[in-house]
Symmetry: C2
């Protein structure tokens, strides 16, 4: 399904010899066949943002994108002017084939930081990808495979609105933290929507999805989320429904990233309720999600509420007013912390499910927020210590 679920989009995923893994699909192309070419983007805040981010931020700025070229096997980050020229050359090649200008092309890269791409492989790969373009399911699936790095599975979404469709793909498994919390994401729609509405829908959706997941607290140099509209359905959607669907697509993809977090054995939902403001709830949820000690405890099936409240306790009172003596914590439905102290016995908590639910009530107000994270396992260390990535 993936990006080709929406009408007006074709895609391809090919092995271009960019990745060090022989034969791995490593180059994806997504082309918007129109009639519209509206586009919106959200990019990493990292000050060492990669060359393709610098390029795409510029080309998306006018609200129009005809095609996106994405590679795994190299991030093209911290590569200076030479790296920027590689992104530009790649865009130029795509533009020639698609029949447009380079400034209508977005470029995304993911992989090792600090090395240039094998440009000849990229450019010949672009030709192969263009030749393989198709609007069928297989093409969308191939594209979603081509952007994978340490991901163990492709991550896609397909949703139907009232007469229009939304499709999407994402890659991301490590170096995942707000903000953003993805590496590369392309969402497509055949709804007839202008760039302004797209950008507003995307900003709101990203804020509640990719910006609320945290695998390892590490912000990437290459994060890019693109939303493209072809208008091929001819339907101008109800704005509320459209915004909700884009939010749902982003939430689904973000949830899939957590489900495939590097080495993870548990997906952890942290919901903070009873906060004075949403941002207070969010600050508390983020603090808990960032605790290595808690994440290790969860890996060991230990619902260690002491590590939850000690993380909560690091949030400054001006960011989140609450009384530590009134806080309750439920893990998987068992209230193991009550009034800031011990509640029911932690042995009552069943930690065997993959999904762990931590519900914290600050008892200070009516606002809430949810953040997702993963546990911290031997396998995470193994992936990031023993392989160069």
């Amino acid at each position: 399904m993936s990006v080709t679920f929406a009408k007006g989009f074709s895609a391809a995923g090919v092995a271009a010899g960019i990745s060090s893994i022989e034969g791995k699909k490593d180059l994806a192309l997504v082309v918007n066949q129109g009639p519209l070419d509206s586009a919106a983007g959200v990019f990493t805040f990292n000050r060492f943002c990669a060359a393709p981010v610098q390029w795409s931020r510029k080309t998306v700025a006018d609200g129009h994108i005809k095609a996106v070229i994405l590679n795994s096997g190299g991030a093209n980050a911290c590569t200076g002017q030479a790296g920027y020229e590689q992104s530009a050359a790649t865009a130029k090649k795509v533009a020639e084939l698609v029949g447009t200008q380079p400034d209508e092309i977005a470029v995304c890269s993911t992989g090792l930081i600090g090395e240039l791409l094998p440009l000849d492989h990229v450019l010949s790969g672009v030709e192969s990808a263009y030749a393989a373009l198709s609007d069928d399911d297989q093409a969308g699936s191939d594209a979603s495979h081509a952007i994978m790095t340490t991901d163990t599975k492709p991550k896609t979404v397909s949703l139907e609105g009232d007469g229009y469709r939304i499709g999407g793909m994402v890659k991301g498994s490590g170096m995942i933290a707000p903000q953003l919390a993805t590496m590369l994401c392309v969402i497509t729609t055949d709804a007839a929507v202008g760039a302004g509405q797209l950008q507003a829908a995307l900003n709101a959706a990203v804020d509640h999805s990719f910006n609320r997941i945290d695998v390892d607290g590490c912000m990437s140099t290459n994060d890019t989320v693109l939303l493209l509209a072809s208008g091929a359905s001819g339907v101008e959607p109800d704005p509320d429904e459209f915004n909700a669907l884009v939010a749902k697509a982003c939430a689904s993809l973000a949830r899939q990233i957590i489900g495939d977090g590097e080495g993870a054995s548990h997906d952890v939902r942290i919901t903070v309720t009873g906060a004075t403001t949403e941002s207070a709830a969010l600050a508390c949820a983020r603090a808990v999600a960032a605790s290595n000690l808690l994440k290790c405890a969860i890996a060991g099936n230990d619902p260690n509420w002491g590590r939850i409240v000690s993380s909560l306790g690091t949030v400054p009172v001006e960011e989140a007013p609450y009384d530590s003596q009134k806080v309750t914590v439920d893990v998987n439905g068992v209230r193991i912390c009550e009034n800031g102290g011990a509640g029911r016995d932690r042995s009552e908590v069943d930690m065997t499910p993959r999904e762990v639910h931590i519900d914290i009530d600050l008892n200070a107000g009516d606002e809430q927020a949810t953040v997702w994270t993963d546990d911290l396992t031997h396998e995470y260390v193994h992936i990031n210590a023993d392989y160069e990535s």
Copy 2:
């Protein structure tokens, strides 16, 4: 040596049956025999601070402490009013034996959060500890052993000033992050110094030592650093020399914590130079020290500069102005990142030493700061996932 190196202090470390480890020394007593009883303290900022922290913060506030009682085997944190009463009862028992009031006693606890202590064991242990008090090296050593939890070795310091001495002990291995970055620390001196000067010396020293180490980004509920002066040397020290010696004692103990960080295979010094302000340098160093991905790379002997600069890039420009294109990174003396891009080949870096030096030059100013951290290993996950602590 430890806390008994300074004249006028006696100490003991006994097995009181608080720890779940049969026969482990778990209760330490440090008594200031005077003639002075000046004291200063620095405590965790955690809002879920433990009962002994609440107690000791109050009793140290007037600048006078006669004795400190410290236990491992239980943090007495998140234990509500009952926990506070345990700290008070322990102080009362010590005060009776020492011949003073409970408000002249500091109490420190470390161990599992959320459970009350076995108070009868604590109180009978206080009697044993009082009976074992001595001012010899062995007594100081026993005390430093009694406060260990996941520490693999005791951590002590002894320094000589001009006619006076400083001794100290610390425990801490995990849940180490600014601010603070220790669990329990007692520093003693026989210099004749009042409480005001002690507190000023301690604040400055802690800010540059315990607040600049980060094992796992997790702030504890029980952090306590105490500085006690007996005046037994009769020497009123030169203030500058005294401040420098207190700073040196804290720096030594902080460095020992990093050297014994849970599961660590490398001690990592991160120095950021060329910053516009010290706080800018510190923000950058802290961001790098907090990167799980970098810490895993170092565990795998990979001087992964991409993970260094991507962490640097998360520091907002208003906190640390610098140009990403001018940043250099040396690891163990090899400039592997130059002008924000690749420098010498990372294979030139010898990562076999225990100590790893990361030197980052922002090339934006003249200020600098250093932070110490550990790598992130399988053993860290093992300690924190597979044991309840």
